[in-house]
Amino acid sequence: MKILVLGLDCAAPELLFGFDDLPNLRRLMEVGAYGRIESVIPPITVPAWMCMATSQDPGSLGVYGFRSRTDHSYGNLAIVNARSITELAIWDQLARAGKRSIIVGVPPGYPPRRINGLSVGCFLTPDTSENVFTHPDELSDEIRRLVGDYPVDVKGFRTHDKSWLRDQIFAMSRTQFQVVRHLMQNHPWDYFQFVDIGLDRIHHGFWKYHDPHHVLHEPDSPYRDTVHDYYRHLDLEIGEVLELLTDETIVLVVSDHGAQRLDGGFCVNEWLVREGLLVLNSYPEEVTPFGRLDVNWEQTRVWSEGGYYARVFFNVKGREPRGVIDPSDYQPFRNEIKARFEATSDAAGKPLGTLVFKPEEIYRMTRNVAPDLIVHFGGLSWRSIGGVGYPAIHIRENDTGPDDCNHAQFGAFILAAPGSPLIGEIEGAHLLDVAPTLLERGGYEIPSSMQGRSLVTGSGTLQPAGKGQYTATEEQLVRDRLSGLGYI
């Protein structure tokens, strides 16, 4: 039994299951199981794809985002790379059974992972024309011979040049799918995984045109259908991939997280300054990134990193170099700050519905340097803006360039596995269930270290659609079944 995982970074269940002109995906849904899949906290590309591959939560991986604090100093954060993750991934588990894998673009995939098989780097690869971006090295040349320069990302995707951006993303994805099909046909594999990053870039670049509820929506834009067009492009490419398969293949189409419209940015450090928790020696005259601020660490108790979500750090005595919070005050202080974050409101004073998490409560363990709090402003409908110098707490534009969308906690999956009893819409699937499910369906043992469970056999924790409540699908089925019974 072979396993094929087609990753669609950022694919939203509302769109993947909502567009009715995706015949290849529909066919997979008809023969398999599908539904929403809950992502990790934070639902971010790094670490989400590796949480999926290892069935470990972010705390257990010690990776809390693209950048991680390497120690408790105030210095820069290090960008996570492929070597930051040491847990065994599903392809490592398969290698133990002598099986070969091909992985293409699974983040973080640079430096290229040395696996039993082939690997091609992800969008974190600096420059594929200069660097070796594959394992083994010579695969880079094979790919260059096939497609010329191999694109791993669209550099500078937060741009106003939308026409250029759209064409770049589509071209990148087409090239990547061409390579994927080439590798599938010309190299042996038992496990194949590809992640299409183009969809994430399309969402971030074009969401406002497609969503009339977006604050910056432009009606009748020529880019109105770009998001939809990209899903159709994916469906066609996936259709061509499916042509190459035999019946003895498990196919999983899956996203690492969903997508939702972005209502704006919440200037978290600006807010901390106003709350008196972050103290500056001099307030900047213009918008300044956090790393270049003149922070008075002797008086600062809290600061935060920006991004899709906020990683909030406390300045703790004996832990940070110039810490001020007494360790005995840590827990009550943290509870107070958590409550203050939860009470944050929009510019009109309406509560944002901000979610605040304590790492030790959501992770099985916390390796490396975990944030003291993780904050999803407005359930991630607001970005976290790290810079200071803004005239307001709430801004519309993103600090790192135009961005229309943020991630959502629920991604999507379609699992078509021969002989699987799992059919139809499934509720309660989690990202950490992916690796155990694939291993179990493929006839392999599930390592006890994995934190998820097989969606097929681990039905003990799988929610059968609500307690004493029914789903819309169940209700519709009943109405269909009783339609025309004159007595009711």
Binding site: R27, G424, R481, S483, G484, G486
Partner: protein, 591 residues
């Protein structure tokens, strides 16, 4: 009714004790198996899922073993039907349209499935109303398709086929409606057969054979008829539920499988859905009384044609054919017999609709007349009905009564009425002891059975007694305080057998003129306790079975006193010289 009169003289006539409740699927299952409902598992049209508290059709279900096997239909009528017993003795049977025979039973002979066969949408029948009126809204059990109000001569639209369960979307087939106001008709162009179908104004069309493409290789075939309601000022066209095509039904509807198609080859296309007469179309006031009667006449003709054909081929054994149109006609035309019926709406006295039910009985007599030539002295002829009929003037909101007496609680802030919706959606299960669902039953919210059950086994008897006493004393204050309910019985008093556990905990026996309300049958909690029934569906039989006995005629003398539906299967086995089945509870009525 000369033929029935002759039977009464030569053999006999008796009132036939029906089942509790007096419902078609329950009664005919008892007829077929010789068991009380506890022995065959059909207690009502509607059962409920104790996990979700949702209702579902009780007659059948679908199961799918894995992704490579198609789903299959499973009959929920259990027990052993008499034709299986006879087949084991090499006695053949021909069974046409008996309720609860879907999918068909394994038998020696032929069977055409009856009530339980769905339309292609999976329900008992979903029609489609096409209209150019932009403010039209869909009514019960129908889909609505709005047509453009353009000046063009051709309107492009589609037929609505099966729902794709995975995606929730509908399969469609394109049709074009060619308008011909001068000719007072439309012509429907499609890829079906015939390619051009004429629909004259205020008439039914012939059958259109259609095909819905489903996936790459599959398609679903069906039969549909149209009725042109209006050409001007609005275009209004009515499409019947899409019946399974007897040649290639989505699920088997006959045994052997080719029997249904063979019948169609001989008598032409025919209605295959279990409840062929379009009561919803009339109840929704889409089609007229005339159009409904016209359709009923069609069903009669089809049934007589298949009966005649099958009788020609029949030599010995058991022959069964059901004519169920009288049931539908009585449901829909009862109001014309009673000037004070809430649904009578001032129809002038002597209107010809007032005689429709009598005409229907005479039609039944004529059918018997057509059979008599085939009945020789070696033949036992049994003519029977499964239940009688009565008026349906007032509906009782059982759930609202349960709510007001503290047995059923709604979530905070929700009051009985429209806000409470249907399907028990706002019921607070943590505080609810009992709920009504279906046509005659009340269920306890029992611990370890219902998903959020709170009633312990110890207290269930007390609650049942309290509900039974309270309901038996429910007075209709707007009707001089008459009792709406004659009695409420715990299931243990009514049923016994292997499927007892599936029965409602309490069975409600309504008084004459009363019935469970439209709302409560589907888990609604309406305002008030009793309401007028103003719908055209104005007669019913889901009341105290003592008030709606069936009838029984035979061409030989029989024991008529106390004859029960239960006794028919043993009567049939006795007539054919076979011992009755071990589970059969009745006794032969033959001397």
């Amino acid at each position: 009714m000369p033929n029935l009169a002759r039977l009464r003289e030569t053999g006999g006539f008796a009132r036939l004790i029906t089942t509790t409740p007096a419902q078609t699927p329950v009664a005919w299952s008892t007829f077929a198996t010789g068991c009380n409902p506890g022995g065959h598992g059909i207690f009502d049209f509607i059962r409920r899922n104790p996990r979700t508290y949702l209702p579902d059709l009780a007659l059948n279900r679908y199961e799918q073993k894995n992704m490579f096997l198609p789903p299959r239909a499973v009959n929920l009528r259990r027990g052993t039907p008499v034709w299986e017993l006879l087949g084991a003795r090499d006695i053949g049977s021909t069974v046409l349209r008996c309720p609860c025979t879907y999918p068909p039973d394994a038998l020696l002979g032929q069977m055409l499935s009856g009530m339980g066969v769905p339309d292609v949408r999976g329900g008992l029948g979903t029609s489609t109303f096409y209209t150019s009126n932009p403010s039209a809204v869909s009514r019960e059990s129908e889909s609505l398709v709005r047509l453009p109000r353009g000046k063009g001569e051709t309107v492009a639209t589609h037929l609505i086929g099966p729902r794709n369960l995975k995606t929730g979307s509908d399969l469609q087939m394109e049709i074009a409606i060619l308008l011909d106001p001068v000719g007072r008709r439309v012509v429907i162009h499609s890829s079906g057969s015939p390619e051009k179908l004429e629909v004259p104004l205020q008439s039914w069309s012939d059958w259109l054979r259609v095909k819905f493409k489903h996936g790459l290789l599959q398609s679903v075939r069906g039969l549909v008829r149209f009725h042109l309601l209006s050409l001007e000022p609005e275009l209004e066209l009515y499409a019947s539920p899409i019946n399974f095509d007897p040649d290639l039904p989505l699920y088997p509807i006959s045994a052997p499988p080719g029997f249904a198609g063979d019948l169609a080859w001989r008598i032409g296309p025919y209605h295959t859905t279990g409840m062929a007469e379009d009561t919803s179309g009339l109840n929704n006031e889409r089609i007229s009384e005339e159009a409904f009667l016209d359709q009923c006449a069609n069903v009669w003709r089809e049934r007589e044609a298949m009966m005649t054909l099958a009788l020609e081929r029949f030599e010995s054994g058991l022959f069964y054919v059901l004519f169920d149109t009288p049931d539908r006609i009585q449901h829909m035309f009862w109001r014309f017999r009673e000037p004070d019926h809430p649904a009578h709406r001032g129809t002038p006295p002597g209107h010809r609709f007032a005689a429709v039910i009598e005409e229907c009985y005479r039609h039944c007599d004529a059918v018997v007349g057509k059979v008599l030539p085939a009945v020789d002295d070696q033949t036992l002829l049994i003519v029977l009905s499964d239940h009688g009929f009565n008026s349906f003037r007032r509906g009782v909101h059982l759930n609202t009564w349960l709510h007001d007496r503290g047995f059923l609680a709604l979530r905070d802030g929700v009051r009985p009425g429209d806000d409470a919706g249907d399907l028990l959606r706002h019921v607070d299960w943590q505080r609810t002891k009992a709920y009504a669902l279906g046509l005659s039953g009340i269920f306890l919210n029992l611990e370890d059975r219902e998903e959020q059950g709170i009633v312990s086994a110890d207290e269930s008897d007390t609650i049942k007694t309290a509900i039974a006493r309270g309901l038996a004393d429910l007075r209709d204050e707007e009707r001089n305080g008459v009792r709406a309910i004659r009695g409420v019985r715990p299931r243990e008093d009514v049923y016994h057998g292997p499927y007892l556990e599936e029965a409602p905990d309490l069975v409600v026996n309504f008084a004459s003129g009363y019935r469970v309300s439209w709302s409560s049958s589907m888990g609604g909690v309406a305002g008030g306790h009793i309401e007028d029934n103003v719908k055209k569906w104005s007669g019913d039989h889901i009341i105290d079975p003592d008030l709606v006995s069936g009838v029984l005629f035979m061409n030989r003398p029989f024991r008529g006193d106390g004859a029960r539906l239960l006794d028919l299967a043993p009567t049939i086995t006795a007539a054919l010289g076979v011992p009755k089945g071990p589970a059969m509870e009745g006794e032969s009525l033959l001397p």
